[in-house]
Amino acid sequence: MAQKFTAKIWVLGDDIDTDIILPTEYLALKTVEDMKPYAFSPLRPELAGLIQPGDMIVAGKNFGCGSSREQAPEVVKALGISCVVAKSYARIFFRNAINNGLLLIENADLYDAGTEGDTAEVTPGKEIVYNGKTYEIASLPENLTEILEAGGLVKAMRKRNGLD
């Protein structure tokens, strides 16, 4: 699994839905790069401009609920978010995120403890160290790890079929 990394935390709430992650009116934009400025805009219009590559999102329950629009995890990935740590994920978003190589971590406690602007040290598949405390995290099943490490489902299939 990927190496340990340190990331700055952005805290979002419960039930962060796909219309908040990327509103419908921006879905028709040509590229995910064009969509980036509008990520999370219904909730925090300034946020997309503040996120730096490598930062992480910490959120509550049911992150990504709503639509199957794959632009949602794509835009989070394009902003350079290193991982999302939430209490739970909506299932379509979970699959879409893995398929786009976006690391999702499920953890019940970090959301309640996490303060925006702080940093945390993440070791995927093992633990998150934040504010002197260690939060254990589960590793993903092997087939999903393979997809994540390749950078998404299509890339993983290309790799598996010896095309890359």
């Binding site: 219309d19 009116e25 489902l153």
Partner: protein
Amino acid sequence: MGMTMAEKIIACAAGVNATKAGDIETVTLDRLMSNDGTTHLTIDMYNKLKNPHIADIDKLVWIVDHNIPADSPKTAASQKKMRDFAKEHNITFYEGEGVCHQVMMEKHVRPGELIFGADSHTLAYGALGAFGTGVGCTDYLYAMVTGTSWLLVPETLRFNLHGQLPEGVYARDLILTIIGRIGANGANYKAMEFAGEGLHGLTMADRISICNLCVEAGAKTALMEVDDVAMTYLEEHGRTPKACFTSDEDAVFAAVYDIDLSEIKPIVAKPHFVDNVVPAEECLGTHIDEAFLGSCNNGRIEDLRVGAAVIKGKKVAPKVRFLVVPASRTVYKQAMKEGLLDIFMEAGAIVMNPNCSVCWGACQGVIGEGETLISTGTRNFKGRAGHKDSFVYLASAATVTASAIAGEITTADRV
């Protein structure tokens, strides 16, 4: 050990005798639906593949419904991409025919099938005993190319329905009540199965409405056993089942709920979450700017009949837009035949062509800053229907129509 309906359908699609919740199975899909929300992305990815091919063309159904007719050069371009690709590859293709899930129910879904839809409300197909589940465009592409995908076999929440809904109370009120009770992630990763003698009294329109909205509780799929009502619908539409499954008596459910339909009351889901439900009475007097009767959830002929009965001889309130959007061409024609569209237009409603409309905040009818919509659509998320600072309330066709007349939230027995 017995199996649930969900387990049986997955086992069948995986070609194994038995499976159980928590297992991961590789399944062969029976049908693959995609719409103009994301098909252009699927095509872009497909065209970048080294050796692109489609496993089984006959299983693909592509439907333009989210932005039909196109509302900008950008949406026109993505639809053209979809239309051209469908033509080149001989893919079953509809545009202007209706909202994807309604078209699928009218023309394609068969009991026992396992269906991927690149749309979250694909759960609607459970009304015909089919396992419909929503996926993104990458999962769709994989299934389109290989014919297969992997699925985590879900646990099942079983809802035993008893009795019947009181007059003036609808399937929409029932499913909102259930979502309010279990929460917006109360069925996350799980199947929601509906059974009991109360189910048999529900129309197909009711059943589609219930299954469709289960995704708002996070469900992976929704399922109902195939009874005489479902078989009659299937026969009327010229189809036969792949297989009719029911859960075994000793099947293991994660939870069982008993619901007395006679206790259900008119419900409203307040902004900005579908599980933020209250009795409609608690919202009485809330000012509205727009009302919407339509969507894959409540745009069927039965819903239009309910709305027309409420508004017949009355007028839409001044300064309120009332959008009526039949869910399909078939529904539209039937509504014309029955004189329902006349009733709506006499009342001052705006009758539009079948599409996803303001339910997904595109097409036409989006609301502006500070405005309030009452809707039979599927979601009331912040900004879902237009401006980020606007408000959406969800309710039944009767409550929405009554509110359009009053200019504020009210119930049908009050207008």
